[in-house]
């Protein structure tokens, strides 16, 4: 009995500590995203369903969660410690994104690109700068370019680890045939009839 009491009381302390360490502090009384989603969920249910949800489902789910957590809290503690001491090493055979010489289209100067890629909006929803809201990413990109480098436009097709192939467009820095840093300006899913 003493062991069970010790086990459960230690579990309660662990659960409470974990809760306060991971909680999100509130700032002001502005409606949160969670509140909006809960409101939408309630609106989608009938009044009877909401009563059942509030009086039975919510307390039951909470009680079940506490019961499970109290039963197997050492397992959660093990996982937390294991992840801290031995973070998982990502191993993937997936081909990382890369641009080849076959993907290069045309060579441009920085001035030509910036002139071509100016963005404007009649409602003032974008800065009148090259690449608009992506201007900072562009200036970061060309800050890497030296006087000996060239800039080419490119288009390539690549699949992320979890998705279908997408078409990527942008600009890339080259130097004597070597492919350097790239700046992606667009990504689109490939339609079968345009591949």
């Amino acid at each position: 009995m003493i062991f069970i009491a010790f086990y459960l009381s230690t579990g309660i302390i662990f659960i409470v500590l974990n809760y306060f360490l991971t909680k999100v502090p509130q700032e002001g009384k502005q409606e949160s995203l969670s509140d909006i989603l809960k409101r939408h969920a309630r609106a989608a249910r009938t009044p009877m369903q909401n009563r059942l949800h509030d009086l039975i489902l919510t307390p039951l789910t909470f009680a079940l969660g506490i019961a499970i957590a109290l039963s197997i809290w050492p397992l959660f503690l093990y996982w937390i410690i294991k992840d801290k001491l031995f973070p998982p090493i990502e191993t993937s055979e997936h081909t990382p994104f890369a641009i080849s010489k076959n993907d290069l289209i045309n060579q441009y100067t920085v001035e030509q690109i910036e002139s071509h890629e100016l963005v404007s909006d009649p409602l003032g929803g974008v800065p009148n700068l090259p690449f608009g809201h992506l201007n900072k990413a562009w200036t970061d990109f060309i800050s890497e370019k030296s006087n000996d480098d060239s800039i080419w436009s490119f288009t390539t097709i690549w699949s992320s680890e979890f998705g279908l192939p997408d078409k990527y467009e942008g600009y890339v820095i080259t130097n004597e045939g070597r492919i350097g840093k790239h700046f992606i300006t667009g990504r689109q899913k490939i339609k079968k009839d345009t591949k």
Partner: protein
């Protein structure tokens, strides 16, 4: 993965849910990934954006999200100097707007099927085409219309 709530789009005089995340593409292209707090298993991206098509141009007009430090996120937070609307010039792709009654609920992403899908083709932020795809008919008269998400967990904020 739980079915995901869609972004909100004001189109053709009414709000609807859109199964696309143009803001996600902005984060990817600009290499900026705000530390959004987890809000719900039905919203793993951590934010809910509101969009409008004005004169065939796609604008981000609102956002609901919090960062992991509890800071509320607004348009001004993500796009300083643009508190009211942001032209989504970076986005090219198709926006899918499910319409009609539910045909098949799939508890994963945006995979649920509805009677109709309205596709808006967006090219560099501008609407360049639309087409409607019919998927079938739901013969149950009492079923409601419009995009829905089934059960999910929300992670509420707590008072200090």
């Amino acid at each position: 993965m739980t079915a995901q709530v869609g972004e909100r789009l004001f189109y053709d005089g009414k709000w609807c849910s859109m199964c696309a995340t143009p803001l996600g593409m902005y984060f990817s292209l600009s290499n900026t990934y705000p530390d959004f707090a987890d809000a719900s298993t039905a919203c793993w991206r951590g934010y809910l954006g509101s969009w409008e098509l004005i004169d065939n141009r796609l604008y981000l007009t609102g956002i609901k999200a919090q960062l992991i430090d509890g800071t509320s996120v607004s348009l001004e937070t993500l796009f300083p100097g643009y508190p009211e609307r942001v032209f989504a010039h970076w986005y090219s792709g198709e926006i899918r707007i499910p319409q009609g009654k539910l045909l098949e609920y799939v508890h994963a992403g945006y995979a649920s099927r509805y009677e109709k899908d309205l596709f808006l083709t967006i090219t560099k932020g501008e609407l360049t085409g639309t087409y409607l795809k019919f998927n079938g008919e739901n013969e149950h008269q009492m079923d409601s219309e419009g995009y829905q998400v089934g059960g999910y967990l929300t992670f509420g904020k707590r008072d200090n």
